[in-house]
């Protein structure tokens, strides 16, 4: 039902109600009033006749009365149906004749009017009036009104319809058309003319809506274009990924895949979609639950299955994706058949290389061991020869022999160090030491050579520096001694060598960088030679090899060690004026580790001197204070398989008054220990039948030998070897070739003063 019909309907309803009210309520009321008025009028007329009636009756002038009422009847012939006048005594004087029957009719009204007369009582005028005409007039006026109202209604409704048509319906229809066009995407619409009413504001709002929609549509189109671009961009990336990418839904069905994935599995374009993961992977256990249990980001290896049925090595990385409340799985896939083959080849090559390397290291270790053993004999024997009666010439030759032997040991040790560093097998200790002690030791070692060559030595260790550190003291000494030794070596008589240490940088409360400086007033090094100093197997000048000896591995090793310790070595030099070698190391500061220092002392007291080229004379305090006096009459068990070394050790020990019994291997040592009491055992490590480690362990199982000093004698001087010895229960370790004084000092210490070390 449109507005027009509604309006008509509403108006018609209102009009009908109005008309019905008019007809059924108002008209009866009006008629009632008309009737009342009518009666009132009749009474007024009668009342007006009253005085005449009274006078006529009183004067018996009935003729006048009758004539008067005849005339009245004539005047009111339309409304007066009958009038009768009775006197008080009941006589009817009007009409004088005729029946007294009252006329009957719907519209007849009986009106009685009483007149009081003096002598005749109350006269009554009985009027039967017919208000038909009046009623008809009333009807007519109402109908006239209704007719008028009807015409007015038609006019008003027509006007209303016109207004509705032009003010409401047409604009609304335009808006409706506009809305329909907009819904069909046509935003170019004709809107109604603007007005200040509700339609106007509706139009304005519609205009706003259209604008917004248009803008919204435009931005939607832009967004769509962007989304398409983005989609294209991402699809391009997706499709061109070198890795296969497959998206699985929760049922393990491929929802999406890229070209690479299709190629990996040998599928055509789009053919992977809808495939189950079980069809792509040959492994029995792989289903979606297995995929779910995989660790995200972790690469897993599977046997992939191509469409042809061929299997191949497949690497898969899974990602979980939450999308629209669904769990998806993105699988990144690689065919790694080739890589696996290459990897296998590589592993094979690596294993071969490692085997070769192992062989080399083993060879090197063996070689050094093999060389050390005879060298021990050579050095030991030549030392023994020193203790015999010799003439001047013999002693001179012997001195040369000993120097050559020791030089050779240096070379062997350097080669060993170099090879270890090269193989990255060198591990640094991390133990407590005190810096002043280290500096003091260096001074003690270098000083004799300085004295011998007429070079003044100055060592400076400032008290302000932290004393305790954690680090590899032995390797630090090795660098410093190497530099200091070279400085002394290349400084002519009358020159000077300065050794100093300083705190270069305090990194934090625990770490510090120490800088060591070794400065000499020597021959100096030409700038062009300075760079090659630290390279393997090179020395400044070919002639220096002849002049000073050595193959120049010391600086190379020093540099590598310094670098291992978080520092470096460098040189500043002017030819004929001198050189300054500096190096830095990063150390951990450790002030309060007294216990650790004791332990370290115990562990490394007997370690071979870093600089092998130190003879008895250069250690005057140690060598010349005639060690071993206290060892007179002490019983020592020497366990040694090599006859030469047996002889050498036995000569040294017996030279000090020690009573020596010799066992050729561990088994024999155990037997001798049962038979004789000993104050200490010198135990070689590598022996036939039973090695030193086993023997020591067995000895230590017996309670009575718990405190018996067992000192290792071994050509294996690596860190592992020493630790192995301690682990087996030995108290100390003396490397071969050993100095006689060192051996005796250690024996003396362990026999007479063992508690100091616990």
């Amino acid at each position: 039902m449109n507005i027009r019909t509604k309006l008509i309907f509403a108006s018609l309803t209102a009009f009908s109600v109005y008309m019905l009210t008019l007809f059924f309520v108002w008209m009866p009321m009006q008629l009632e009033k008309t009737k009342r008025d009518f009666v009132e009028t009749q009474l007024m007329i009668l009342n007006a006749t009253g005085p005449d009636v009274v006078r006529n009756i009183l004067s018996r002038d009935y003729a006048a009365l009758i004539a008067s009422f005849d005339k009245q009847m004539l005047n009111h012939q339309k409304t007066w149906a009958q009038i009768s006048i009775h006197l008080g005594d009941g006589k009817r004087i009007y009409p004088l004749f005729g029946a007294s029957q009252k006329p009957v009719g719907e519209t007849l009204i009986e009106i009685n009017y009483e007149i009081d007369t003096i002598d005749r009582g109350i006269a009554t005028i009985n009027l039967i009036a017919d208000w038909k005409t009046v009623r008809q007039d009333g009807y007519d006026s109402v109908f006239e009104l209704m007719r008028f109202m009807g015409i007015a209604f038609v006019l008003m409704v027509s006007l209303g319809l016109l207004l509705v048509e032009f003010l409401l319906r047409r604009p609304l229809m335009q808006l409706t058309d506009g809305a329909e066009k907009i819904s069909q995407g046509d935003y170019n619409i004709q809107l109604p003319a603007s007005s200040n009413d509700e339609i106007g504001s509706l139009t304005n709002m519609f205009e706003v809506m259209r604008t917004r929609l248009d803008e919204g549509r435009a931005s939607l189109r832009h967004a769509l274009i962007r989304a398409e671009e983005s989609e294209h961009y991402q699809r391009t990336i997706f499709e061109n990924l070198s890795e296969g990418l497959v998206v699985l839904d929760q049922q393990g069905v491929v929802q999406r895949s890229n070209r690479a994935a299709e190629q990996i599995f040998g599928y055509g374009y789009g053919q992977l979609l809808g495939e189950r993961i079980t069809a792509l992977i040959a492994d029995q256990k792989i289903d979606i639950h297995a995929i779910e249990s995989l660790q995200v980001g972790q690469a897993y290896l599977y046997q992939g299955k191509k469409s042809s049925g061929d299997q191949f090595a497949l690497e898969m990385v899974v990602s979980r994706i939450e999308m629209h409340n669904a769990q998806l799985f993105a699988l990144i896939l690689r065919d790694i058949s080739l890589r696996e083959q290459a990897k296998a080849a590589l592993i094979h090559a690596k294993e071969a290389a490692e085997a070769a390397d192992q062989a080399k290291s083993q060879f090197l270790a063996n070689m050094t061991h093999e060389i050390r053993t005879p060298m021990n004999a050579i050095i030991g024997l030549s030392q023994l020869i020193f203790n015999t009666k010799l003439d001047r010439e013999q002693r001179n030759y012997l001195e040369k022999l000993r120097e050559a032997s020791e030089h050779m040991m240096v070379i062997i040790n350097d080669i060993l160090d170099f090879s270890k560093i090269s193989d990255q097998q060198l591990t640094l200790r991390h133990a407590y030491f005190q810096l002043p002690e280290l500096m003091d030791h260096v001074r003690h070692v270098i000083e004799p050579q300085g004295v011998k060559q007429g070079v003044s030595l100055f060592v400076n260790c400032p008290n302000a520096l932290p004393r305790g550190y954690m680090g590899d003291k032995q390797r630090l000494e090795q660098i410093l001694l190497n530099l200091a030794n070279n400085a002394v070596k290349f400084t002519p008589k009358g020159g000077e060598v300065y050794i100093a240490v300083a705190l270069k940088e305090r990194i934090n409360a625990l770490q510090a960088v120490l800088q060591f400086v070794v400065k000499d007033t020597g021959i100096g090094i030409a700038p062009e030679d300075q760079q090659s100093l630290f390279h393997s197997f090179q020395q400044v000048d070919g002639s220096s090899t002849r002049r000073y000896g050595g193959i120049g591995l010391g600086l190379v090793i020093s540099k590598q060690l310094a670098q291992l310790m978080g520092g470096d070595v460098w040189v500043e030099s002017v030819v004929n004026q001198g050189s300054t070698f500096s190096f830095t190391v990063t150390l951990e500061i450790a002030e309060n580790q007294k216990y650790e220092v004791e332990k370290e002392k115990r562990l490394f007291l007997n370690i071979r001197p870093p600089m092998a080229a130190i003879d008895e004379k250069r250690l005057p305090q140690q060598a010349k204070t005639a060690p071993g006096h206290a060892l007179q009459g002490v019983n020592i068990l020497l366990v040694e398989d090599d006859p030469v070394n047996q002889f050498l050790a036995k000569a040294i020990l017996e030279g000090a008054g020690v009573i020596v019994k010799v066992a050729n291997h561990g088994q024999e040592a155990l037997q001798l220990l049962e038979a004789h009491p000993f104050d200490a055992i010198l135990m070689d490590c590598q022996m036939p039948v039973m090695d030193g480690f086993t023997a020591t362990e067995q000895i230590r199982t017996q309670k009575k030998y718990r405190a018996l000093p067992i000192i290792a004698l071994s050509a294996n001087v690596g860190k592992e070897d020493v630790e192995h010895a301690f682990a087996a229960g030995m108290n100390a370790h003396v490397g071969k070739p050993f100095q006689s004084a060192t051996l005796l000092a250690i024996l003396e210490k362990w026999i007479f003063n063992p508690d100091h070390h616990h």
Partner: protein, 284 residues
């Protein structure tokens, strides 16, 4: 505003012109002889004018005199006026003629010569009263005390001839007399034949005439002695002439005069002998 003023001025001018027009004939009339005509108010004034105006117009044409009808509100007023000589001519009942002759010397000019005037006495036809003698001591209705035939002459005869003692009531008109008799308010009533005949049949049929008075000459037109004989005769001739035409007869019949003829004082001598003055009620 100007228009309103203009209309006002025009109205004033029109009124003045009208006044002049009215005034002009009056001025001319003064040149004519004017006579005042009196008529006994036996009918209401309007009806009297209807009857007399055509007659007087004719008389004016005939005589060249101007007649002015002078109305009297009541019969006593009329009696007083003619007694004082207010009228030049006057139509009156026979007893008035006697009074006017006695007072001013009025003389009869013309009268209805065909009819004679007499009173009747009616009773209810179905009543107990059958003869005059039954009315002893009853209430009798009369139009007025001085109505000639119906009242004065009737009462004179009832008194003088029947020796009746009765109670008269005066009900103003002949019609009322008949009604009072019908209604029983009066045992009998005095009227005249003419009024009785003009009643509705229902009334006449229910009334019974039990007595008639001695007839007398009917109403004359009297002339005042100040009107000279020539003039009076001119008027008399004109009236008589009127009675000779059909149109005039109809006019005169309304007076009523069925046949107009000359009248003399001698016509009224018998009436004079009855001494009706005994029954006249002056103050009425």
């Amino acid at each position: 505003m100007k228009k309103t003023v203009a209309i006002l001025c025009a109205s004033v001018v029109a009124l003045m012109l009208l006044s002049v027009n009215v005034w002009v004939p009056t001025a001319q009339a003064t040149e004519k002889k004017v006579f005042k005509i009196g008529v006994v108010p036996q009918f209401e004034a309007r009806r009297l004018h209807e009857i007399w105006t055509p007659i007087l117009n004719t008389l004016e044409e005939e005589t060249g005199y101007h007649f002015e009808l002078v109305g009297s509100p009541t019969i006593p007023a009329f009696e007083k006026e003619f007694s004082e000589g207010a009228f030049d001519f006057a139509y009156m009942n026979p007893y008035h003629a006697l009074m006017a002759e006695a007072a001013q010397g009025y003389q009869p000019l013309v009268r209805d010569v065909k009819r004679s005037l007499f009173g009747i006495l009616v009773v209810a036809k179905d009543g107990d009263i059958k003869k005059v003698e039954d009315l002893q001591g009853k209430t009798l209705a009369f139009p007025a005390p001085n109505a000639l035939a119906a009242s004065l002459q009737m009462r004179q005869e009832l008194h003088d001839n029947f020796k009746l003692d009765f109670k008269p009531i005066y009900v103003k008109t002949h019609d009322s007399v008949y009604y009072n008799v019908l209604l029983g308010d009066a045992a009998a009533g005095g009227g005249v034949q003419k009024t009785f005949n003009s009643q509705a049949p229902q009334i006449r049929d229910n009334l019974l005439i039990i007595h008639q008075t001695t007839p007398v000459a009917p109403h004359p037109i009297m002339v005042h002695p100040r009107v000279n004989a020539v003039q009076a005769d001119k008027v008399k001739q004109a009236l008589l002439h009127l009675g000779s035409t059909d149109v005039g007869k109809v006019m005169l019949a309304n007076i009523p005069m069925k046949q107009i003829g000359e009248a003399t004082m001698a016509d009224y001598e018998p009436l004079k002998q009855l001494h009706l003055e005994r029954f006249v009620v002056e103050s009425y």
